[in-house]
Amino acid sequence: ERMSGLYVDNGFDQTIVHRVISQREKREVEHEILNLLGLPDRPKNTAARPPQVKRSAPKFLLDIYKNALGEDEDEKPIGEQQRRAGEFDLTGQDFRAIDQSDVIMTFAARNHHVPGVRHERGKRLWFDVSEVPPGEHIISAELRLYRSMDVKNWRKNGSYMITAYRVLKTENGTRELQYVDAVNTTAGKEGWLTLNVSEALDHWVNNPDGNKGLYLSVHPADRSVHEVRPEDVGIVGFRGNPDKQPFMVGYFKSSGIRESKVR
């Protein structure tokens, strides 16, 4: 039989009794705790196939949980000297966003088909942001891409500009793009690259129908040749290693209104 999972001290010193509660009581307590935490039910489609913690997005938040929140969860944030950048190269800006946030969410990149969008050499990334609670204030959002050195076409002395655009319209197969952010990467640099996508996330949360994803364009910094494929400069896509796949992270300040989901 399953253990109850609820351990209550009976009040006597040195004697802890694990009271066995009935199945009905257990279900009620489970639901109460879930409701208290704002988790009214198990996520969809996870009973048969449990989600994988080894993927980049859960690993990123686990890294924050272990290294950036502090061990004793005290009121004041963990000291700067105790913090570690971890494998995700967290910066001072990241730590400030972590301290200000009540909720941090990650969104795994998906290959979501949008009719009419033609792909050139760039890569389109789509994120399901439908679970962002309404009324949450977005502090910031960043797109995280992993650049690997394991590429054949990489020019040893080259540097490349990676630019993210928000896809606006898809009428008649034409695409309109709005510049979001850009980052330079140079030869010899392996690791996580971050782009500020706060404006894009804000737009998608407020206009769900307008969520057509981001377009990722890669050019040599000197523009000596045309656009190249992100894979050619080592950018890991959503078919790459699970712990190196692209994802978006959003930092939110709670509105103070407690979620009340129907059970």
Binding site: R2, M3, S4, G5, L6, Y7, V8, D9, N10, G11, F12, I16, E30, I33, L37, G38, L39, R42, P43, K44, N45, T46, R49, P50, P51, V53, R55, A57, P58, L61, L62, I64, Y65, K66, L69, D72, E73, D74, E75, S101, D102, V103, I104, M105, T106, F107, A108, R110, D128, E131
Partner: protein, 136 residues
């Protein structure tokens, strides 16, 4: 374990009487104890939620229990008003209740869980863990 089993078997026949008797019921004895912090742990692992809630393994909540009896002493972390409340209770015990045993300091927890099969959330919950109890 053998000793406990024997003891359990021996007391099974009179367990109902035991529970209904206010002089022997552990619950009643427990209530007569002074206000202090008590253990309450919810194990996400034992509830089989660990494939959904990534961290922590459980919720170390604690709770406050016990009575705030006269005289209130330092161990009860009594507020000034709790002393007044006790005195008024002593004057009119049938009308005015004793001070309440409640948390005096709470701390937050963070929970990391899957929203669906790919998106993940790290949420901070304020005032979730009892750090100390006192009479209010």
């Amino acid at each position: 374990q053998k000793r406990d089993a024997r003891r359990k078997k021996k007391s099974e026949s009179s367990s109902l009487d035991y529970r209904n008797n206010p002089y022997t019921d552990p619950g009643v004895q427990y209530n007569s104890r002074t206000c202090k912090i008590q253990t309450l742990y919810v194990s996400f692992r034992d509830l089989k939620w660990q494939d959904w809630i990534i961290a922590p393994d459980g919720y170390d909540a604690y709770y406050c229990s016990g009575e705030c009896n006269f005289p209130l002493n330092a161990h009860m972390n009594a507020t000034n008003h709790a002393i007044v409340q006790t005195l008024v209770h002593l004057v009119s015990p049938g009308k005015v209740p004793k001070p309440c045993c409640a948390p005096t300091k709470l701390s937050p927890i963070s929970v990391l869980y899957f929203l669906d099969e790919s998106n993940v959330i790290l949420k901070k919950y304020k005032n979730m863990v009892v750090k100390s109890c006192g009479c209010h």
